[in-house]
Symmetry: C2
Subunit: 245 residues, 2 copies
DNA sequence: TTAGCTGAGAGGTCTGATCTCCTGATGGCC
DNA sequence: GGCCATCAGGAGATCAGACCTCTCAGCTAA
């Protein structure tokens, strides 16, 4: 493979390698900066640059005064190239919904086909949690449910893509005005049914991939329609046909 | 928005903000480290950590002895969470192809609907370049063509997702054995037609989104089938139905 | 028992010396 | 006149170490 150009790059690779080869787990702690720097025979600043890189990648989490830990927290920057785009937030949000539609319908199918008992248990738990969410938690727990579906699909690429989209989703949502946010936040009534139906289609006895796809599609279409209603219809106008399948 | 916890985080945000607000362009150069650190009133190490972060995100490119530049090069690490997965390369590659199938078919539709004259010119140029590629360039120019389609689709989220997938695609491909690589590299004969048909469906007079989708789907299916043929069929077995639409 | 203090240890930041790498200018050679 | 070897300046790369801030656990005293 290509050798790293810089020390920090090398350190990043090394830490990833160690993580994989030693079979370390998420939550495990790395040695203190000074000691790790000594072990790797690099300066502390090089090590810290590597840490910043790993942190940006979302592979480690650094807690001031506590230590550095491996984490599964997907990084917030995955789609951050978008910050460079001049796409207005409303349009960006419409695009994100469309991307979710595309990816999540497929994930729903895979989840219905591949989910294990454990996956299904987690799915139910997430749906339950979402159902009893308090004000201000709808969005977070809602996304958690969708990420649980992604996990159940056992498709690492699509799941990672969804994580990236969802992270950006929350971020963009914050930049939108209240009306738009309400579409998300106050949406619990109708969305509830969607989650439960997706779970039902995925449960062991049923296993209805096509049904899961339809449920997920309807679920996200609701959201899309609601959002479109309060924004310029033109923005999402030509997104309807092909997505409609 | 949420305030950065650390100085490097703040610096990263600041640099992104400046890039957007000043209307800077890709290729523009940042001030030298020492001067930029002075301007921002932070130490050089903090600035360098921020740079490492931005570099990891793929927003800047640092050239030793030359300077630091804004870049559109999407980060090679975009999907690097995948490195933590235990997914074997063959399976990962199959997943990447499937993700491309999902995203690119949609992008082909959008490109056929939205492409401007300039987009189409670039598309033709990319197809041309691919057609005359020399040995060892097939993969690179091939992906360039697909990225040109993505650009023509004017969908920043999906385009960014594709960039991420394509970057990882090359990387994973390198880890596969020769036989698998040949599927990509020596594939020019058949793939050629696919590219040209996609261009045709997108050209101003025609504008056949459905046709473009079909062409893209067939194009990637070819690749998928070829790859599947030399690997365990079970890996992609249950991916066929829903994607088939 | 418990509120509050405190010190050890971890990360955060700065500085400035020194090294390495690129690039363009210089100047001699063909 | 054109070409190439050399060199100096500028920019990033790395290091060492001093000092700051934060967290947490354990101690202490009310």
């Amino acid at each position: 493979m290509r050798r790293p150009r810089s020390l920090p790059d090398a350190v990043m690779s090394e830490i990833q390698r160690v993580f994989v080869e030693r079979g370390l787990k998420v939550g495990d702690r790395l040695p203190p900066e000074r000691e790790l720097a000594r072990q790797l025979a690099v300066g502390r600043s090089s090590l810290r640059e590597a840490m910043q890189g790993l942190q940006t990648m979302g592979l480690v989490e650094v807690r001031h005064g506590v230590g550095t830990f491996f984490t599964s927290e997907p990084s917030k920057w995955l789609l951050s190239l978008l910050r460079f785009s001049t796409t207005p937030p409303r349009r960006l949000f419409a695009e994100l919904i469309e991307a979710r539609l595309l990816v999540e319908v497929r994930l729903a199918v895979l989840a219905a086909e591949r989910a294990t008992k454990e996956d299904i248990a987690r799915l139910k738990e997430a749906a339950e949690k979402r159902a009893h969410a308090m004000r201000g938690q709808y969005l977070e727990f809602g996304l958690d449910f969708h990420l649980a579906v992604a996990a159940a699909a056992h498709h690492s690429v699509l799941a990672t893509m969804l994580k990236a989209v969802c992270n950006h989703y929350s971020e963009v949502l914050e930049t939108l005005d209240r009306a738009a946010q309400d579409v998300e936040a106050g949406f619990r009534g109708r969305q509830q049914g969607g989650h439960e139906e997706i779970v039902r289609m995925t449960e062991s006895e049923e296993r209805d991939p096509q049904g899961a796809a339809d449920a997920m599609r309807a679920h996200l279409r609701d959201l899309q329609a609601e959002f479109t209603a309060i924004t310029e219809p033109s923005l999402t106008a030509h997104s309807e046909r092909e997505t409609a399948k």
